[in-house]
């Protein structure tokens, strides 16, 4: 049985990147999915073999599967948006300008990512936000490194094409 400090160390090392990856994928309630991901890590860690590099890729593989499950669940049970009265009752939400800018960037990035296939999007998000190497991404998505490299190149080409076309301005 691992000590609490050991689990916390693993969590702090990996969880922030997992959280960013999940949010960029548009997973609703990404915080809960992060928690479920690491609980699954504890459950399955007995069967894990490999070094630290492989462990990080393995954690992202679990997070990716959990994200897919959560997205499917969200489609089956869509969340009803809160009413204006309910939002007013919750009080102020912070800096409106900052939130607006963040919203714009998020919207732009969202539109760019929508142009990609799911595999291309996953590869780019894992490479950029997860800070994984090609080999680690290959483990996380269950593909060969050559195929991952090709998906990455095609994804970047698609993004460049969209930007040049003026569909999305950066």
């Amino acid at each position: 049985m691992g000590a609490e400090w050991a689990w916390r160390e693993l969590y702090r090392e990996t969880a922030p990147a997992v959280d960013r990856y999940l949010r960029a994928r548009g997973v609703p309630d990404a915080d809960d999915v992060v928690g479920e991901t690491f609980v699954n890590v504890v459950r399955a860690i007995d069967g894990f073999e490999g070094d630290e590099t492989a462990f990080r890729a393995w954690v992202f593989a679990i997070a990716r599967n959990r994200a897919t499950d959560e997205m499917r669940r969200a489609i089956r049970h869509p969340i009803v948006p809160a009413s204006i009265e309910e939002l007013d009752d919750r009080g102020p939400r912070g800096d409106v300008e900052t939130e607006a800018m963040e919203g714009l960037v998020t919207d732009r990035i969202g539109r760019l990512l929508d142009r990609l296939t799911p595999d291309q999007r996953d590869v780019l998000l894992l490479r950029i936000l997860g800070d994984l190497t090609i080999e680690q991404v290959a483990i996380a998505v269950g593909r060969k490194p050559g195929a991952v490299k090709m998906l990455q190149a095609r994804g970047v080409a698609a993004i460049r094409r969209e930007i040049e076309r003026g569909a999305v301005t950066l």
């Binding site: 609490e4 969590y11 702090r12 928690g35 504890v42 800070d131 490299k149 970047v156």
Partner: protein, 275 residues
Amino acid sequence: MSTSDVPPDEMGWDPNATDDALEQMLSGQTPTSDEWRELAGFVQDLHEAAPARPLVSEDLHVAAMVETSHLIAENGDPVVRPVSNADAPAPQVSGLPKLRRKPMKRSTRTLVRVLAPIAAIFTVMGSMAVAGALPHPVQKAVSHAAGTVGLNLPGDDESTNVPDQDDQGENADDQGDNDDNQGDSSTTDTAITTNDQGDQSESSDTQTSADDQGENDDSQGDNNNQGEDTQSADTSGDTQSGDSQGGDTSGGGDSQSGDTSGGGDSQSGDSQGGD
């Protein structure tokens, strides 16, 4: 996937060059060529869209991880095992759990489920076979099978044939007694011989000879033969000899008394000759 799968509008993008450029951006370097300016902008915006944030649920998540590891350890499985036990087994912080369940494998459970009824059936059948309470053909087969391995169980053949054999044995014994009695006491009372004949009368064959003896006292010598063999053929022979002896008794009753074992018989033969 090969480069031939890349659409024409995406051709010209070298995967290795793209990966190198992306690697530079991820490591914080500025792309040297304007060719990658769009990609650099995309990476920057992506970081801004999903910034790193403090995980407010860290304590909650770590507590869930620890709780899960406790639950797994209580089930008897260590959560973390050493990669290799080549040097030494890793020391366990909390030691082994007190109650360690070792569930039976599925194959073993199935085997027990199959073998337990078979063993019970064999036990019951074996007990009934020893007691001889099995049905006729089953008992016969079981007895035969047990006999091949050296076990003596009551079989159907033995149970039906043994009384006959015993009777025959008794007859033989009785016959032997007759022989002995007749041989030992050739001059004893007629009553002894009569009793022996009575024993012989247990079988139907000997009754015939007894009748013959009643009709003709001289046939007692033949009766000795009957004692040795209770065949009815001998009895018919005795009757004939009795008749002939009846004729002979007028001339030589003494010789009969001397030859035959029964002295009393010769007296009756003599009386018949007198008649």
